[in-house]
Amino acid sequence: MSKLKQRKDRPTIGQVMDEAGVGRRQFMKYCAGMTALMAMPPMATTAFAKQLRAARRPSVIYMPFQECTGCLESLTRSFAPSLESLIFDTISLDYNHTLQAAAGHAAEEARLEAMEENWGEYILIVDGSIPTKLNGMYGVSESHTFMEQLEQTAEGAAAIVAVGVCAAYGGVGAAYPNPTGAVGVADLIKNKPVINVPGCPPIPEVMTGTLVSFLANGVPDLDAHLRPRAFFGNTIHDRCYRRRFYDRGLFAKSFDDEGARNGWCLYELGCRGPTTYNACATIKWNGGAGWPVESGHGCIGCSEPGFWDQGGFYEPVTAKLFTERGESIAAAAAGVAVGAAAGLASKARKKKLASETE
């Protein structure tokens, strides 16, 4: 009962903002940035701001598993501190063993305490893949496998946000031959809403935008790979400023030819923009300063499942299909040859048998 009261007593985001001296229009300005990020019409800003102000300050448990900390680096060292710091000031980050001072038993105690106090309401953020081979023995902390820790913490979560391609689909850890049996969160947790925010790393604004969207409106509209459509609804190719060159058949053939200098399409140099859903072309990186294609390098498709095993980064996306078709044609040709040889041998055998019978 006292726990329930405690939850009800948690301040709203609006109250936190008021206490921090954030004015109404400043908050509206922040929300305008957020609605723009989420591809919501700017006219929806007022309603969004109202919903966000009324939401209770959330408890967040951030669990890193088989990861490189790149996603957390992307989030905390982002070039848009005004947006991210507002979010970090607003949420109650109750557990993140990379950032928190406590370690070992004390850190785990903090997690269990946060879980108990906010049971059914906290947001669980997962970073990194989960090893499953040998019953998860490739990843153990505090005498518990990552699998056990994830299952235990997921039990009381309102929703799980899998940040980075590793937490979403297994990522680097799951690349062939996947020695640890790495999987993404949604492969293990089936009874809670899982929101994937893939990328290597994901765009920081997409991570915070997803959290804010969840606070204001609950689980956002997701695509087949559980990615928020607001950020992953279009391919890189759809929103690329070089698309016009693709449409006109103008392609750079090498990274230093005339086409590359003129900013032509990088498709033939391996750009995976046509098959990659992400917001890099619109939100961009480093506070909107640029993004890979603008810098002259093709998209490597880091927000797609299994992107490490999709062939070389410098082959056109269709090269793999052509290779497979080439192989199948060769196999078919070999099959025909083997069949023909077998047919001839059979005829010869029949002739021999016939002559022997005669």
Partner: protein, 137 residues
């Protein structure tokens, strides 16, 4: 004509060469403006969501020109609200404390939504003003 006081334009959009991409956005703005005139329904176009080359951004800015109003507000970074040479078409840019653009959009409205007082704010104002007046009695 209608006898309305004409808008004083600081930079005329006339004579500016309009590229294909900019023309497409221009027609979108025109359709929103016509709809606003007919039904009063406002609209906005998110500039960061448009796949534009840097020169097209400048072209669009030049094509829309500059109207009478150009407001700068300081709130954790500069917010600039500019009336374009076309009445009812506003260019709004919010920057953060690091001077980087947080959001940028063209709004088709009588006055930008951002400047309007919100209902809950007005409710608070009624309560606060009432308290102050009662205290003054």
């Amino acid at each position: 004509m209608s006898g309305a006081i004409p808008l004083k334009v600081k930079s005329s959009p006339k004579g500016v060469t309009i590229g294909g991409g900019v023309k497409a956005i221009g027609f979108e703005i025109l359709s929103y403006l016509e709809r606003f005139l007919e039904s009063g329904e406002s609209a906005a176009i998110d500039m960061r969501g448009l796949p534009m080359a840097p020169n097209e951004y400048t072209e669009l800015l030049e094509m829309l020109g500059q109207g009478e109003l150009d407001l700068s507000l300081e709130m954790a970074g500069t917010t600039r609200i500019r009336e374009t040479a076309f009445s009812g078409v506003w260019w709004i840019q919010h920057k953060g404390p690091d001077d980087r653009i947080q959001s940028e959009y063209i709004e088709i409205n009588r006055i930008p939504e951002f400047l309007c007082a919100q209902t809950d704010q007005i409710e608070d104002a009624v309560r606060e003003l009432s308290d102050r007046l009662r205290g003054a009695l």
